[in-house]
Symmetry: C2
Subunit: 308 residues, 2 copies
Amino acid sequence: MGKLLILGTVAFDAIETPFGKTDKILGGAATFIGLAAAQFKAKTAIVSVVGGDFPQEYLSLLKKKGIDISGIEIKKEGKTFFWSGKYNTDLNSRETLTTELNVLADFEPVIPEHFRDADVLMLGNLHPSVQLKAIEQMKEEPKITVLDTMNFWMNHTMPELKEVIGRTDVITINDSEARQLSNEYSLVRAAQKIHRMGPKYVVIKKGENGALLFHNGEVFFAPALPLEDVFDPTGAGDTFAGGFVGYLAETENVSFNNLRNAVIHGSNLASFCVEKFGTERMQDLTKEEAESRLEQFKQLTQFDIELR
Amino acid sequence: MGKLLILGTVAFDAIETPFGKTDKILGGAATFIGLAAAQFKAKTAIVSVVGGDFPQEYLSLLKKKGIDISGIEIKKEGKTFFWSGKYNTDLNSRETLTTELNVLADFEPVIPEHFRDADVLMLGNLHPSVQLKAIEQMKEEPKITVLDTMNFWMNHTMPELKEVIGRTDVITINDSEARQLSNEYSLVRAAQKIHRMGPKYVVIKKGENGALLFHNGEVFFAPALPLEDVFDPTGAGDTFAGGFVGYLAETENVSFNNLRNAVIHGSNLASFCVEKFGTERMQDLTKEEAESRLEQFKQLTQFDIELR
């Protein structure tokens, strides 16, 4: 059983989809990553910051899932990071309505002493200089460092982002971000260029069209499970990342073969996340449910053509 | 070794992509389907019509591939069907520049006597009433009838199209066509509705995002092979269909498990088709090349999570 350290936001989200609307509910990249990783046998901690307005009930929820929250700083005088967004009818695009950084504006991450030797370091989507501070606090190099980022940081903080990318083993971004970062339309060529920036592994997420894992000229594909209804896509990418790193931390194996399994676990958990608003589905997801849907992933991709 | 009858266009195409431009070259749905099916051990025939302007050389090419062309009518006084189109930069969308129906306008298909007992009937994209005429000429019901169609027929000839759909076992359409036909956004729900129109199997093609095969509440997914370069997508969907029906005709097995293999073969051949203009790559494709890329499809999708 390995140690997993997650850096990222713990936040309030307010979400509007064609199917409904929420008030401020529990959200944030680290929250989704943590809840997904909690499906695996690993020692997991979150490093983040919240304000005095953040309900104790949410912290208790994370704790009850076995997540070490000693690295979540509570700034009594401050307000918690808040994001709100509205999805278009097809759920494939969304509009950000509000982003209030609040306590995130001057976040100085402090990794608890007992997690500075984590096996897996997961850098959730945040300002790259904050991600860099986490990397620098590690006492020894993690077995694997996984970076999630987005187009906003490519547009505004490319030099810092390039430095973080240069120090990570795996980058997870979506297809349009991969194209932006590499200036290549073909995802195969994009991955080749991003490899040269540092990461041995490049994961390109394509939403309902699955995810590609590139390594050394090889490629593995994890489909998204075709679902009757997608209710709310918020957090699906983070849940994917959480399943990915949670499985790696449990198995303590960072071979390409094991990373293939890890992206399947990530896709599997993401398929649950989108079934309800926010973290709702991930809060009550059981190991048995997750396991049984893995069988569907096998059925979805398995074929038996005999090669000569 | 089964018999495969292909109904569809044999035509001239003129194509413009970001990478170049062609004059009138060999094209047409039945041509692409036939060239793909020729990779398999089946007795294959094409039923179509061309004009007096159609080069003997093209007919000889089909014949040399082992395709029975006795059902390709040559109307000496007429001109061959001509389509020209221009692809946008990302190759995912295209604009039709010219459609000259010519001899296709009053095409009366005649299936050669020795193919009226075909095991597999492939109805390439054409006016549904022409497709219906082919169905009605079969002496006995084929083991499997596969229908390809497009949005144009949904817009203009829905009653006739519905009748054809009601008499086929498999329909292949792309994702937006599936949504249009079913009036459902979710592809899972779309497939359920289309099943109720007749077809036991629904294949939804998503271009570079692969293809889904739905049957009886189950679903199988064939990814598209991630390619460094896509040169010309023309005919990829027909090549997919050709690989699908060619494999079914060779194996004479229409079980769901064998249809899974068939969509992989279809995806595999389509990945070659797009590497060059028009039919160029499919003309010289060897069995060894096709076989070796199948191994990549295994590598692309195979994982070994043990389920309890």
